[in-house]
Amino acid sequence: MSNGMMIHKYRHEGLNIVLDVNSGAVHVVDQPGWDIINLLEQGYKRNQIPRTLQGVYHQQEITEALEEIQTLMENDLLFSADYLEGYERAPEHVIKAMCFHMAHQCNMTCNYCFAGEGSFGGEKGLMSREVSFRGVDFIIQNSGLRKNCEIDFFGGEPLLNFKVIKETVDYARKKGREAGKEFKFTLTTNGLLLNQEVKDYLNEQGFSVVMSLDGRQKVNDRVRTMKNGSGSYDSLVPEYLSFVEGRNHQDYYLRGTYTAYNQDFFEDLKHLVKLGFKQISLEPVVAPSEAPYALREEHLPELYRQYEHIARYYLKLYGSENTFTFFHFTLDLSQGPCIKKRLAGCGAGTEYLAMSPQGHLYPCHQFVGKKEFLMGDVTQNLQYDRDLYQQFLRVDINRKEDCRTCWAKFYCGGGCHANAHQFNGDLYKPYTLGCRLEKKRLECALGIQAQLFLNHEQNASKEASREP
């Protein structure tokens, strides 16, 4: 086999799953099919296979399975060729999404915060209305013909600057209308200032909201602490619940971070589901390896097991009143993003920038404060560094050796640039631990899709047999 073809075969919950990487087709195969695909992958010719498997399976079975596989290959659904070799992303110079760091200060002191209690290693402070408005002007000026533009209000804790958030939303809506743009807003908050006024506002304005809570009280309160050292769980849970129920569980994520302290994070997921949350995201902590809570290679087998538990639990509750969404298991295999989106990855530095309270621009929120990545200053002009743009444009999955040959590349889009830089000092070398977790999550997500497909097929066949 050649032509850059790539498959990924794995077993999940008793199923043999084969992903054809280039087409994105996912197959569930029986044992003869699995063995034949395995031989073809090793380079066996089609006509060598019946003799190779003689005595293992009946000849008729081998012939049937081979014919099915041949049909898939002819339809470019198995061992399909790489059609992206040499493809390069064209520079469009369209920035349509920004992360506004409304506050480089925080009302919490979470141990693992990558923002250093909100200041990102710099001065504490709030974004002024003038800077925030310039950020809106920047998006309008630099988003070309794109209609949909995005602002994520981020921090530190952005609700420390709620007044400017509201003014910015009004300004963006007004300026957006004039320019034919539609702004969508996200707020990422630790929830401490989520009072009724804020809740009503976020619902009225159609915000997507990302709220932080790590799970069980002892897990959350160990790391997500208030300034006085006490935990945040007791004050957050009732507020979060009333908020998500008030918006009928639409457009939010309850986002937790797991660390080496809670390697049994399946228990945290279950806890959040039992509390009544339905949109959940649990993310591995990003931390220097010497931190006591940092995740390390030796934790991986346990972390993998946790994802397997979550996948089983997801299926168990699927279709019930307790159905939940787990961010990393959400996959639409037939109608997901186009290949250009998959190549572009997160979009940092190319369609997405972050802006500090001072108006300084960076490729994304995790680069804020790193001077070598400073891309502009909206208080001076509405331009950005085209060399850095070009640098980020070039770092795609075709140009990163580890990504080019990885089966997961069209699902992760090449991983997090900031993690690559932090751990390897090189945008072209992805953060391996993150990659391995991502691959496990994907295997579970694809496995869930396969099981849902088979369940559906089985139910349909039962229905059909009941019909007179």
Partner: protein, 52 residues
């Protein structure tokens, strides 16, 4: 088919020609902010087509 069940009929290759409108949500804005995932993003064009 008896030995192989294909659970999806993706159209990734043709999306190279037809995709790339860029109107979808920027992936890191959604829920993670720390680990990149692209495959779980929704296509804005398709959701618009479905509403028609």
């Amino acid at each position: 088919m008896k030995h192989v069940k294909t659970i999806n009929l993706p159209d990734l290759k043709s999306s190279l020609r037809e995709g790339g409108c860029g109107e979808c949500q920027t992936s890191c804005q959604s829920a993670c902010k720390t680990s990149c995932t692209v495959g779980n993003q929704a296509c804005q064009r398709e959701s618009k087509d479905q509403k028609k």
